[in-house]
């Protein structure tokens, strides 16, 4: 600006001194190089001049200049070489310059690809006038302007359309630029919908400082792309939260896929595209079966059909193996980092890192499973594919690889569960899954989660007692609703004692049908584990005794108390509330009445305070029993020796009789 001002000053001084001299010498010719002076000749439509040996029209339409943005600018401000020249001036006039006013833009242009080509003498290289025009420059906001957004694709397309000399003769890596653009979401917005704020060529490539993508200063250099796109898509990282970790995007953009990896340049649509770093390039080497790592000799062969049949069919090699350098002859030569699935699956990665698996992995424990142990590497099929190891039917086998008895995880495990996979297979869930083929049945991951497996002691664990009702409720929601209102729920009862959750009654891996005989017996023991006294007294009643014999067709804990909706008796919704208890009895005893319900179902005769009648009846009966047995027993014991004596006496008499009388007589008693 300084220089410019100096020049202007100089110009003014010059002009004034010039005017002064002319004014003194020739009156009437004071403003010799006014625009009108130029137009005196150049408004003649037939005026001709020569340029590079060709005859051209040098007519200047005054109207056009006056309606242009440069209406206030003098001719010689641009045609600086003519300043002070005599006229008619010399034939070979220099090109009008823009930098006398647009010096900053000129600087941008000077660094650009176009400028360098121009300076090399590339006759295809554009300069200011090629895009902006000469005398007819109108405001960019005017729809008629050549550089108005709506016209930019056409303007750039003049050179960059398919088949143009530039495309054919110069090294341009992209093809069908204009066609692709016009079909892209940007091109459609601009050209079909007339959205002038849509990205045009200049939005991404800049207007003047156009550089190849290999130049690190370029707006389309890999590391700058995100910034370029974010000029319009300002909060795009919010949308891509799951795909790209925000922090990485800012700090380590190179490990992430760039926008164009998925949204191809010029073809960007709302869908993913095969990306720029073509898989074919990778396959040139990795298709070879004999390809081996020079480090450890492992095969580096990639079965591409596996990828194409996988969930990652539309994901390019370089999206996972990020950090490849397309500019290198071997783009992967500097690749050292292993695949980070988190660059797309960041939420899952966060879960995994919290899990026991993830924590072990972070300690480099050789037993720790990583993504590929479960998902494999290239052959990722997704959990709805029956061939996938993560398909529900295959999950017990997958987890069993490590958690089956004797395997590496089972050996490390210090908890109380045993034979986990075997027990699961015999449980209702396991049978449902493996025998009935019900894919909606709970598998390992339904309870333990797929990626955030934590020990039950961890409050964040899906199998932490506080979270178990929710975990089971994922499928058994109705039960969860009932349970969470019941006295057993930690949401209802605040107790120092351990409150039961689903697994205390149903077990963890040995869950059997609640209507099976086995369960009906187990459940009474389960209740008794906490309600020891009350269970004992239950077994003193008819119901309990029949249960003890091994029959289930009698009232058990849950028949009266409810199973999941157990409530204190004072709660009006309780099955044993005064209002409901007769109905509860009636479930089995159809003609039960109010007094019938007064039967003590947990009676004991050992508690004189609570059940005095039972206590005294029992001791009365026991007294009678003991009394009778003591007296009668005493009588019998005293009798025994006499009876033995009497037996001997009888034998003796019999022998006497036998020797005396050989005959035997019988006597019958009075009643026969």
């Amino acid at each position: 600006m300084k220089i410019q001002r100096k020049k202007v000053n100089l110009k003014i001084i010059k002009r004034f001194s010039f005017l002064l001299i002319l004014g003194l010498l020739y009156s009437g010719k004071v403003f010799s190089q006014d625009n009108s002076d130029c137009l005196m000749c150049h408004e003649d439509k037939t005026l001709k001049g020569t340029k590079s040996g060709r005859t051209i029209s040098v007519f200047v339409n005054e109207k056009i200049i006056f309606s242009s943005v440069h209406s206030e600018v003098d001719c010689i401000q641009c045609h600086v070489d003519l300043e002070g020249s005599d006229f008619p001036h010399a034939e070979n006039v220099k090109r009008a310059v823009c930098n006398s006013c647009h010096e900053d833009i000129q600087k941008l242009y000077d660094g650009s690809l176009h400028s360098k080509a121009f300076n090399r003498g590339d006759r295809l290289a554009p300069i200011c006038q090629d895009c902006h025009g000469s005398h007819e420059i109108i405001p960019v906001k005017n729809i008629k302007s050549k550089v108005a957004p709506i016209n930019v694709p056409y303007l750039c397309g003049q050179c960059h359309k398919e088949g143009s000399p530039v495309q054919l003769q110069r090294n341009i890596s992209q093809t069908h630029i204009l066609e692709n653009y016009s079909e892209s979401i940007h091109g459609e917005g601009l050209m079909k919908k007339g959205l002038v704020v849509t990205a045009t060529c200049a939005s991404c490539h800049t207007a003047h400082e156009i550089l190849p993508h290999t130049d690190s200063r370029s707006s389309i250099a890999r590391k700058n792309i995100a910034g370029t796109c974010a000029k319009c898509h300002a909060e795009i990282e919010l949308v891509h939260r799951k795909v790209i970790k925000g922090a990485l995007w800012e700090k380590e953009a190179s490990v992430l896929p760039a926008c164009v990896d998925c949204h191809q340049p010029h073809k960007a649509r709302r869908v993913f595209y095969d990306q720029g770093m073509a898989d074919a390039d990778c396959l040139i080497c990795h298709e070879k079966k004999e390809l081996k790592s020079s480090d450890d000799g492992r095969s580096l062969f990639v079965n591409y059909s596996e990828i194409k049949n996988s969930r990652h069919a539309n994901i390019a090699c370089s999206q996972c193996h990020s950090g490849v350098k397309p500019s290198h002859t071997r783009p992967c030569d500097e690749l050292t980092a292993s695949v980070d699935c988190a660059s797309c699956h960041s939420a899952i990665q966060e879960d995994y890192q919290k899990s026991v698996h993830g924590k072990l992995a972070s300690k480099n424990d050789p037993n720790a499973p990583t993504c590929k142990e479960c998902h494999s590497n290239h052959n990722i099929l997704g959990k709805i594919d029956s061939k996938s190891p993560t398909f529900p039917l295959n999950i017990p086998k997958l987890c069993g690889n490590c958690h089956r008895e004797g395997e590496k995880a089972a050996v490390r495990y210090r908890g109380t569960e045993k034979e986990i996979v075997k027990n699961y297979s015999e449980s209702i869930h396991g049978k449902g899954l493996l025998k009935s083929g019900l894919t909606v049945t709970a598998t390992c991951t339904d309870c333990h989660t797929a990626h955030r497996e934590l020990p039950h002691s961890d409050p964040l664990s899906s199998i932490n007692p506080a979270n178990i009702p929710t975990t089971c409720g994922n499928c058994h929601h109705g039960i969860q609703e009932q349970f969470e209102k019941s006295i057993h729920s930690s949401l209802v009862s605040k107790s120092d004692k351990k409150l039961p959750t689903c697994e205390n009654c149903h077990s963890a891996h040995q869950i059997i049908r609640a209507d099976s005989e086995g369960f009906k017996h187990i459940i009474m023991i389960q209740c008794g584990n906490c309600h020891e006294e009350i269970a004992k007294t239950y077994f003193e009643t008819y119901h309990g005794k029949v249960s003890q014999l091994g029959y289930t067709k009698t009232a058990k804990c849950y028949d009266c108390h409810g199973a999941h909706d157990i409530l204190p008796v004072e709660n009006p919704a309780s099955h044993l509330n005064r209002k409901n208890v007769v109905e509860t009895c009636k479930k089995c005893h159809a003609s039960a009445n109010r007094q019938f319900a007064g039967y003590f179902t947990h009676a004991t005769h050992h508690d004189p305070d609570k059940y005095p009648w039972l206590f005294w009846t029992f001791w009365g009966m026991t007294g009678l029993l003991v009394g009778t047995f003591v007296l009668a027993g005493l009588h019998t014991l005293l009798w025994l020796p006499r009876s033995l004596q009497w037996r001997r006496e009888l034998k003796r008499r019999q022998q006497d009789k036998n020797t005396n009388h050989k005959s035997e007589e019988n006597v019958s008693d009075g009643n026969s």
């Binding site: 014999l549 009668a632 025994l640 035997e664 006597v667």
Partner: protein
């Protein structure tokens, strides 16, 4: 009577001592707790019927033998306790401790009369409480529900008394005492060797002889096959009875909870 008693004991005890393995076995043997229950109640009906038939028979005997009510109740063949029983009892005690001879027992001894009336008591106590347990819905219409808890205890403990008494005291007094060992089948045959009768019931023998009626009651013993059948039945009943006693002792001493 014996079959129904043993059935009642087995099915009832299987419930009372449900915590023993034997109870589980028996309950399954009877076809489950429900069918065991049906057997129990059926046997109870038989037992009460036998009891009632006996009462009817007693009344009919009175008519047939042209006895007055007084003669029936206080006559020499009556089951009612009388002065002789008291004397016999005291004499027995003396005999037991070696201070006297064996009393001359008559038609019915005092322990037989005790057993007889024990059945009256038992039928009444166990039968009535059993009814409340059979029809709890009916009885609770005019009784509080906890009565059922009380009748359960009475029913069960009285049954324990009855089975315990029959299978130990009664078994010994009647069958196992050395002079009758191993069993006295007179209950089935109604016949006893004269020689044994003379010694066992000298008072009655003397009375018959005095009245000159002894000849009227003489009869030949039953054929061997009948005796054998009776003995097989007797052995069966005795074995079951002893088994129940062993089981009760086991249940109460070793498995009680």
């Amino acid at each position: 009577m014996i079959v129904s008693f043993i059935s009642l004991a087995l099915t009832g005890m299987s419930l009372k001592f449900s915590y023993t393995g034997w109870a589980v076995f028996l309950s399954h043997f009877f076809g489950g707790f429900e069918s065991a229950g049906y057997i129990h109640r059926f046997a109870a009906v038989i037992m009460v019927s036998v009891f009632i038939i006996h009462l009817v028979d007693v009344v009919r005997t009175r008519k047939k033998e042209l006895l007055s009510w007084k003669e029936l109740i206080f006559g020499p063949n009556s089951m009612m306790f009388n002065k002789k029983d008291l004397k016999d009892f005291i004499a027995s005690m003396k005999w037991f401790i070696g201070k006297g001879e064996r009393p001359e027992y008559g038609r019915w001894t005092y322990w037989e009369k005790f057993d007889y009336f024990a059945v009256f008591w038992g039928i009444f106590v166990i039968g009535s409480t059993g009814l409340t347990l059979w029809f709890p819905e009916f009885f609770t219409q005019f009784m509080p529900g906890w009565i059922l808890n009380v009748t359960t205890i009475i029913h069960s403990d009285e049954a324990l008394l009855a089975t315990g008494f029959i299978f130990t005291i009664h078994f010994f007094n009647t069958h196992l005492r050395p002079e009758k060992f191993p069993m006295d089948i007179v209950i089935f045959t109604g016949r006893i060797p004269l020689e044994e009768f003379k010694l066992d019931r000298p008072a009655e023998y003397k009375e018959l002889v005095e009245k000159g009626q002894l000849e009227n009651y003489l009869a030949e013993p039953y054929p061997e096959i009948v005796i054998r059948a009776i003995r097989i039945f007797g052995w069966t009943a005795l074995s079951i009875g002893f088994s129940i006693i062993l089981w009760i002792i086991y249940a109460m001493l070793f498995a009680y909870r």
